[in-house]
Amino acid sequence: MTLTMFELVAFTILTAATPLVIAAIGELVTERSGVLNLGVEGMMIAGAACAFAIAIVTGSTALGILAGIGAGMLLSFIFAVLVIFLAANQVATGLALTILGTGLAGLIGSGFIGLKRDATVHLYIPLLSDLPLIGKLLFSHDLFVYLGWALVAGAAWFLNRTRSGLVLRAIGENHQSAHALGLPVRRVRFLAVLFGGACAGLAGAYLSLSYTPFWAPGMTAGRGWISLALVVFASWRPVYAFAGALLFGGATVLQLHAQAAALGIPGQLLTAMPYLATIIALVLLSMRRRRGSVAPASLGSTFMPER
């Protein structure tokens, strides 16, 4: 493999990993606070549709990104109200959110099918971006990729190095004792869910504004669900989530290259690769930590202050 070929593959892996890592970091923070939001797929696709629609209508990429984030947050707001204040079942509500988000995205996107837009601009710093290998891999992405990296670093720092992060983790581990200590369990969870929604919407905006860049129904193709698996795979740690996203991004890119190389493998098998990889990753991980779970102890359970 030549250097340019390697460069190209590594570059596409980084871009394919970006939506996964952005959504996974959001869900990771949500889950660390003890809330399981299965609606990532719905928030992501709604984000993609809104971002593209607004970007086309206003002609502004920045407004498009904001619209994507806003759509994700709005949906996660509904989820948060139901789950945190009305004590609704988290699994079922998350599924409802996915169905709702997919429908809304189709509704919003229906007027924008077939339209095209230039992808977001890529960074170019003279000299730095021209460096062999490093230049391509580090200094020539678009805004989203850097945002993704910043989110990983920011989440790792926030969760492990700040007092607020400690509070959030305490609430996720044991909401009863956190409540007894006077920590605002429901408020923190609410904010964590909103953050997760914003990230999922941003990931969607990346797909429709930069990765593809157009709107097509069902364009997220299960990436929201893969992000959910990624959080488990990463043992709820941001840096591991980044590594995992690279692996999954790698599976996607491998599939594209294998398809192009026409190796005689049926296309459907290659398309199934990311889903198979997700199952295998989940299984391997669960086998390894058979003895004790590292999931936040209160994950998925509802907190209602007793009086």
């Binding site: 509500t93 709702l100 997919t102 429908g103 669900w225 459907q268 398309t271 889903y275 199952i279």
Partner: protein
Amino acid sequence: MRIELERRTAQSPVIEFLAPLLAIFAAVLIGGALLSAIGKSPQQAFLVYFVEPFSDAWSLQELAVKASPLILIASGLAFCYRANLWNIGAEGQFVIGGLVGGTIAVVTHGMDHALGGYWILPAMLIAGALAGMCYAMIPAFLRFKLGASEILTSLMLVYIAEITLDYFVRGRLRDPKGFNFPQSVPFEDIARLPFLAEGERLHAGILFALAAVFLASFVFRRTLFGFDVKLVGSAPKAARFAGFSEGRLTFAVFAISGAAAGLAGVCEVAGQIGQLQPVISPGYGFSAIIVAFLGRLQPWGILCAGLVLSLTIIGGENAQIAMKVPLDMSRVFQGTLLMCVLAMDVFTRYRLRLIWRRSA
């Protein structure tokens, strides 16, 4: 002002009955608001969605035809959800059931039928149910033996099932004389579910749906197994102390729900479609999740909920033709409906209290 929720000590049957109805009412209001937001008349939409399907015999049959798979799948899912196990991959089990059952019809196509070929349809139905069951055992096994989340694995298996069906319909099972269209040969009459009346649309699939409701109702009310399922779901610790085998139960409920979904899948290809196509489900497996919850995981509730959801599917199709409302509107409505059901569920478990002053 503050809203407090207070846990109910006893269940109120009135509220339990009213909650789903209120949820439907709320969802209709929200749906109407959304429709007027996209510039459609909510009044006309109401007529198209909820009144026209009752206007003639053909539509009424269509209602039952679309409700059958939903009811059948949801009756199976009720077992899982009662046990607090999350099989959300019924769509995949449906597809695999349809694929395996349909394969028998394709393979026997045009053969000289031994025994007059009367064994073909039963063989298809059994094979479809078994295939769905086996497919559902994968997440059950991964969950119980290896501890992997059944939510994620069952969902991933949906994608894999859809891709598998696509592969076979475009490959081995394609009709050689079909002008290269990705579809199988049309099934012979002997491999199709009989219609309940000559020249009508309603096929025998509805009988399986009704049977599933009766059976589930019987099992939940009258058998120890039905009690176990509920106990493991609501009080897992107590169940463990009482010595119930969690593993056996996990496998059993997944097997039941998978078999129901697989049977629904084969009924769809042998009844409604009559051949294999790259896509055989308009999302029945996911809509059935809503049916299960709207029916409060009670078999008779599921029967009614299946009809309601079927109404939204048919209404959505009609609205697309008559009012140019995108088909996604019915999905939005379904999502909203499930949200409302879950929100209303709160009032069955908690009492709402308005507190006017901040308590100390």
